[in-house]
Symmetry: D5
């Protein structure tokens, strides 16, 4: 089932730059794995912002929550989740 | 180039039901054509609302505007457009 | 899976009172059936408002959407859906 | 009587991790006790957020306030309380 | 127990003036009775607005809801309810 | 004349606890004195929040401002003031 | 004592134009009288909007409320009142 | 001097289509004249909305207000005005 | 030409008190000079808040911007500017 | 293609002043280069705020995003992007 997730990243100005770079690199690896697994179906950057909009395809809401909590940048994110379903005019199954 | 579009439909209670049904049927035909053309890449229903979130792949913002204005339900919609671009952690080109 | 749904009802002042009473009676019957089926697990009135907060237990988001669309008062409602999951400190499974 | 409570937790990035872990463990113990006592009737995690939505069954608003103030994570929470009552279409007494 | 209630009245411009005057007169009678009964403890006009802020002293939230629903002007009001309790620095019991 | 005042207290996590306890104790003394003087007519806690709603009876807005500025916790408060007047349906003079 | 008042006028599209013109003319007469009396000390148009920001000098909040209620365009206005007082850096008494 | 103006057009569904078409044609003529005069320096459509963002170059705020009030679609617009000035990093005088 | 300016001051709790007192004293001197010059025509305190609402009479928006930037407390202020003009019902020229 | 960008700068009070001055100088150089290249077509200061509104003319949204990310003050900015297109009443091509 599909959920749209909006993630907005805020980094405090006094946060250690090297530590944040490590978290960011770890986030990238995890995001790529989740995309390859098919769970993280789409990942787009919002133009001009340190933010993204994503589509997740998960077994249930609990799986989505576990994925979000496991992201290295989770503590820096404001997250909004929107449940989606098939639109009657959509020509694809999903 | 990609844009996320949020469309929220509000039908006035005193609007003629038959006329609205016609507009809705015309909207469906047009939405399906735009999906087949590849312009309207994704179309999802927001759960519990007469609203959708969509991804459009257009040549430029003007083309997106012309598409939105051509929708039969445009006069009933509140629309928000968000410009997207490739995320550095996205594994697909687009 | 569980979703919290907030429903706020707005009745236009010029809407026919008898017709609305019929819709309301039909809504009551349907709400009671959905509660007996276990789909509509909780239904509470928000004090001082023509609004409710509910917990639905559905197979997937699409089922929730179909339920919401089938409600006789749907055209009069502003609806917000929040996906829920088990809290790590909750002592019950669900 | 029933109240819906929305709790949103914000942890400052420079807060001591060990101290916060202790507060979180204490919060879990207290939340479980309150659930067993029947005061904290429902506790759900909001998907994708360090936040929960809960239903409390208390003798009066003052008791709810005392419970909220006693939570170890209270200083980190933004809290909203909504008074509930029985919905005319609810099939259960409460 | 005490609740603060904010009531904001909106009258549609095409609503029958005589009918509204009747509702308003009935509202006044009922408001005065509820004040004499001690349920509606305080009633203040917000300066410059067709709105009031009130303090109700009721047995439980359900009673407050019934009172609000019984007000002749209820269909024209936007209502917000805030649960109150004794402040530790308050010198009066209530 | 009457004013409703909403005070919301936010304490930074790195503020010295002992110093804040002193400010809080001083605030309590001053709040009690102002209540005894009749200036601070009502003081209620908002359930679940470090916030209060109060009714002040002052000679003019300037006196209210001076009172608010004199509160030891003023620097930690977000304050909103609403001017009140007698409601035509109120049975008491004030 | 001084209050800042923000008045925003919304005219329904189906309201009778002649009737509104009469109300507007009556409003103008009354506004000019109130200015001459010294009660309505300042009256400015907000650029680009059918709205104004005003400063009233009244004996008490009740007088301000009576003035606002007496304005012919009151039923079409959204009004916000802000209590003012002397600023410590102001070089004039008022 | 420069002002940014955001104009959002809302047409009631029951407004006469022919009358609106006339207003729209008159608006177009006037907008073009104001552009030729140099007063309306820029006029852009916001993608997906019946709205525009414009830059006006006027002698003073009063002139801008008169221009806005003279627009045939003014009664259908929600307008926000933002005063601009030269940015220290701008390479052009204006 | 006239502009209304709303200034809201927020002082971080860890800011040096003596340094802030100096800034505040400098602000007061500058505010008084600007009032004497006629540029800062009105300055009122908003009751209960560390905020003011002011009316400036400047040659153009750029002059207003320079004045605001020159205020010693500018870095601590949230500022909103509203362009004003003569109201058709105002009895004074300005 | 054109995008309107609103940039609002917030500098933390404890940020090193010399370092910020360097970032600001670098920002100025880059802004001027981008203006000379024609990418940053307009740059205006919002009166009374450390904020600007700009018009960018870029090849695609990705180029706009790269430009924004390259700005030395990007970490201090809140940015909103609005896609624009030609208005039917605009007399200039762009």
């Amino acid at each position: 089932m599909l959920f749209m997730v909006h993630m907005d990243v805020q980094v405090p100005h006094d946060f250690d730059a090297a530590e944040f770079a490590q978290l960011k690199a770890a986030e990238k690896i995890q995001a790529e794995e989740l995309q390859r697994s098919g769970k993280w179906r789409h990942l787009w950057r919002i133009v001009g912002q340190y933010a993204n909009v994503s589509i997740f395809d998960v077994n249930d809401p609990a799986e989505l929550h576990d994925i979000m909590m496991s992201l290295p940048l989770f503590p820096f994110m404001t997250i909004e989740v929107t449940a989606l379903c098939r639109h009657p005019s959509a020509i694809n199954q999903k």
